[in-house]
């Protein structure tokens, strides 16, 4: 039950808004953080907290791309396929991932580690082709970088190749140091 586990966080979220319903998406993120996707029980509980009906919560969940109603893999690979990334090779990137992991867009590896999705513009058009895996961006990808990222994730669960804070062209390096990347 979310209320028991996240009582203070929920209270502080509710306090931000004069109308309870505004806390819906933040609470849904909370539920998704907990189980990887939004369960029916979570929707019913959130409806109770916000004094909504479960259908009202459900209709909001289905509108937004980032709220999952079904389980996704441990690492959700979201590759941008909008025009600007496509111009610089996002389709090729998708192909590389398909080859390495054996899954296509919308599919999950049998061990549940990786899910591949194609998504729309992630606001990294100048640094494409790129992808978002869970919370992190990975930009200016090459085949080698992709390999390294996937193996990093498989072994340690995170990769140093994640990008951000964003600035492109690169920020000037402090005097005497080499450029950041």
């Amino acid at each position: 039950m979310l209320v028991e586990k996240y009582k203070s966080e929920i209270e502080s979220l509710l306090a931000r808004y004069p109308v309870r319903r505004s806390a819906l998406i933040p609470l849904l993120y909370l539920a998704q953080r907990e189980t990887g996707y939004i369960t029916e029980a979570a929707m019913i509980e959130i409806a109770g907290i916000l004094k909504l009906t479960p259908p009202q919560v459900y209709e909001t969940v289905t509108f937004y791309t980032m709220l999952n109603l079904k389980q996704v893999g441990t690492f959700h690979i979201q590759v941008c396929k909008s025009l600007m990334c496509a111009l610089v090779g996002s389709d090729t990137l998708i192909g590389w991932i398909q080859t390495r992991l054996g899954i296509g867009p919308g599919e999950t590896t049998p061990d549940g580690a990786f899910t591949l999705s194609t998504v729309e513009c992630l606001a990294a058009c100048g640094t494409g082709p790129m992808m978002q895996i869970n919370d992190d961006y990975y930009e200016r990808l090459t085949e080698e970088k992709l390999d390294r990222i996937l193996s990093d994730l498989k072994s340690t669960g995170s990769s140093a190749l994640k990008t951000g804070p964003f600035m492109w062209p690169e920020p000037l390096a402090p005097k005497g140091e080499t450029s950041v990347r």
Binding site: V19, L87, G126, G164, P165
Partner: protein, 435 residues
């Protein structure tokens, strides 16, 4: 051409700048409020902003001060400021840089705006994918709150401004101001019927101003250095100040470039962004994000200000400039953008909802060499029936790629359809039906 001194990107261009409060203060940050509080009334601040000629940097380009002026004067209840950080227009990535690299610049702009419009609460609606950005903003707000730059009794002035970060959850349409408000209210992000406008019936039906991140980031500078200074930059009187243009596509140095408005596309592409990435010449470019009609090499000398680009048949929009080299299929490019619009259509109004599905399927067929002769007329007709008939500007946006590529590169469409017809002729015919 002398490289212009950056304004918005200035701090982050300094080596080692990481955007903390202390660093921001060192560069003169958080002084603007002290300059005006008690000396310049909120109404006069609005006048200042009008005088500066600042126009919205999100895409619509509406004069910011004028928008602030629409709030009801004698209304007593709460007012809200929503910072539109839902940067989702394909080709645009400037707000992300501003957020992740210099968050306090935006926060200071928010406080100043709240002072001018009489709002005590501001929500930064940031797209859900910007997880890092949201975290950086939350930390910055925490820093600012701790020293009293945000919250109650700011800098001893008695002014209250609460700022909250509100993450979206993946919907391009929530960048439309009324859809943003709906989403902030916890509902599906469907745009509202206008009128009434957010200025009178906004968040929770209260007077609200929605401003883009970059627009707000300009505020400290306008206050600190004066509207005249700002108005002298760029292409006065209609397009003042700088803009951060996002260059992407087939150029040597894609990225964000802050330049005064009024430079030509040629300058931006060839001088700032290093020109084409290979020996293939430029074939086409989009001047202002996916919603802007495509332009041709003939338009390279158009000035990058609102009026000039509109006169050229497109729009400056979000400032996302995408370059396509020779060899790029324009039909394919239009299809890619149509896929985007089809995926992001909220579904509220019939022309956009059904139209986007129809258009994308027709385009897929044409690109897959299964097009038919009548498809072009159908496409044109459908686009004409969508534009201007929808609840929000999404309808006009979604037909821009197809309309503009049909206009400038019709032969490519015809060629694909011809290929389809030929392959159809060559395909073995089914046996004639027996009667």
């Amino acid at each position: 051409m002398p490289k212009h001194e950056p304004i918005l990107l200035k701090n982050m261009s300094q080596p080692g700048y990481t955007g903390t409060l202390a660093e921001y203060e060192k560069t003169g940050g958080y002084q603007a409020l002290k300059k005006i509080f008690g000396k310049v009334s909120p109404a006069d601040v609005t006048q200042l902003v009008i005088k500066s000629g600042l126009r919205g940097r999100g895409g619509a380009g509406f004069p910011t001060g004028v928008k602030w002026g629409f709030l009801p004067k004698d209304y007593q209840g709460p007012r809200y400021l929503c910072c539109n950080a839902d940067e989702s227009e394909p080709g645009t990535f400037k707000d992300r840089q501003l957020i992740e690299r210099d968050p306090h610049q935006i926060l200071e702009g928010i406080v100043l705006t709240c002072y001018a419009i009489g709002a005590e609460t501001a929500y930064i609606y940031i797209r859900g994918e910007f997880v890092l950005g949201a975290r950086i903003l939350e930390e910055a707000i925490g820093e600012a709150r701790r020293v009293g730059y945000i919250g109650k009794n700011i800098q001893g002035t008695g002014l209250t401004v609460e700022v909250w970060v509100h993450r979206g959850a993946g919907a391009y349409i929530c960048g439309e101001e009324t859809a943003l408000l709906e989403s902030l209210e916890g509902k599906r992000g469907l745009p509202r019927v206008k009128p009434p406008f957010p200025a009178t019936h906004g968040l929770y039906n209260k007077p609200t101003v929605v401003n883009n991140v970059e627009t707000l980031a300009n505020l400290p500078h306008i206050i600190n250095r004066g509207p005249e200074w700002f108005a002298a930059i760029g292409s006065p009187p209609k397009s003042t100040g700088t803009r951060i243009f996002c260059v992407s596509g087939h150029v040597k140095r894609p990225g964000n470039y802050e330049v005064p408005m009024g430079i030509t596309f040629r300058e931006l592409i060839y001088e700032h962004a290093g020109g084409m990435r290979s020996d293939k010449p430029l074939k086409a470019f989009i001047p202002g994000g996916a919603s802007a009609p495509f332009l041709t090499p003939d338009h390279l000398d158009v000035k990058m200000d609102f009026e000039s680009v509109a006169a050229a048949g497109s729009m400056l929009g979000s400032g996302g400039v995408t370059i396509m080299e020779e060899g790029t299929s324009m039909v394919w490019a239009a299809l890619r953008l149509m896929e985007f619009f089809y995926h992001e259509s909220c579904g509220k109004c019939s022309p956009c909802r059904e139209g986007s599905s129809w258009l994308v399927q027709t385009m897929r067929r044409i690109v897959a060499k299964r097009g038919r002769a009548q498809d072009l007329e159908t496409l044109t007709d459908l686009c004409k029936n969508i534009a201007g008939r929808t609840v929000c500007a999404f309808g006009d946006a979604e037909v821009a790629p197809i309309m503009s590529t049909l206009k400038h590169w019709r032969p490519e469409y015809i060629a694909l359809i011809h290929e389809a017809e030929v392959s159809n002729l060559l395909r073995p015919q089914p046996a004639a039906a027996r009667h």
